[in-house]
Symmetry: C2
Subunit: 146 residues, 2 copies
DNA sequence: TGTTAAATGCAAATGTTTTGCATTTAGGAG
DNA sequence: CTCCTAAATGCAAAACATTTGCATTTAACA
């Protein structure tokens, strides 16, 4: 079994959450789906493929649990709320194609110097940050040009 | 009259939008309110104070017009959608206190080097970006410590 | 002052997310 | 392996934010 998946199962267990079919299904969906940013409806539909009897409330409740435990990240932009699996360990940001929603990780976090500056020059205490780059991926750009 | 307001009125006029009381009221709210990030409900309530007969659809429709014309910016984080007046000219980002929602502008945009990197090293075409720092402002931090 | 397109108010619809509650189930104890 | 219990689920209904259709009003300009 996939290493990342194994680790997530481990985390869930440690925190006392049950490994229900719905949850396993959702995690596999995140791991296997081509698109890494999914909204609740998409996830619901994919879960439904396996167990036709699932329900939006289950999906939402599980997204909440996964989000609160740092396994999944919730991202809102332009009305749409999407979810993605958190990379294990190293935190990073994404470039998001606004046409196909392909997500490309940024190789570094631009927050480093920024944080240094904020801490030394302001009295604001930074806790969290949110960086996203929107634009066109190579594919979509080529389509646009034709 | 405030210079920024004058300029916005000018812009609206040029684009053929009417300067209705609701719109003037909303713009003044953005300019005068202590809090610079407001959600639709807050704006609605403030508008209502002046003209008791206003309506959510008016507020939303105007927020849309203002957003589409670059006068107002729409920001979503953690479920909440908020709006703020765009700084005239220079674009900037904010540090947002997650307790009182006070917003403190960042004195520079960390996107500069990032953009350079992306353009030279990836085939992604960056169009837009979104940077926000969340944490505690000085005031709230002091309150927390007591 | 009159005309007209644009903006408004209202009520109802939409879409997403949440909740209460009865039922089912994962996972540990025995 | 079986039982027990807290946690998770499914369902229906509610809550909430946002949008829409339509009749009425109004800003802006001739």
């Amino acid at each position: 079994m996939n290493d990342q998946l194994k680790q997530i199962y481990q985390t869930m267990k440690e925190k006392g959450f049950k490994l229900t079919p719905a949850r396993k299904s959702m995690l596999k969906i995140f791991l296997e789906s081509e698109q890494k940013l999914l909204n609740a409806k998409q996830i619901f539909n994919l879960v439904k493929k396996k167990s036709k009897k699932t329900n939006f409330s289950t999906v939402y409740r599980n997204l909440e649990v996964l989000t609160e435990n740092g396994i999944v990240e919730k991202i809102s932009y332009n009305k749409e709320t999407k979810y993605k699996l958190r990379g294990q360990g190293s935190h990073h940001h994404f470039m998001v194609c606004t046409l196909c929603y392909k997500t490309i990780p940024l190789p570094f976090c631009p927050f480093g110097e920024l944080e240094t500056y904020i801490k030394s020059d302001t009295d604001f205490l930074p806790i969290n940050h949110h960086v996203e780059i929107y634009g066109y991926c190579n594919n979509c750009r080529q389509k646009l040009e034709n």
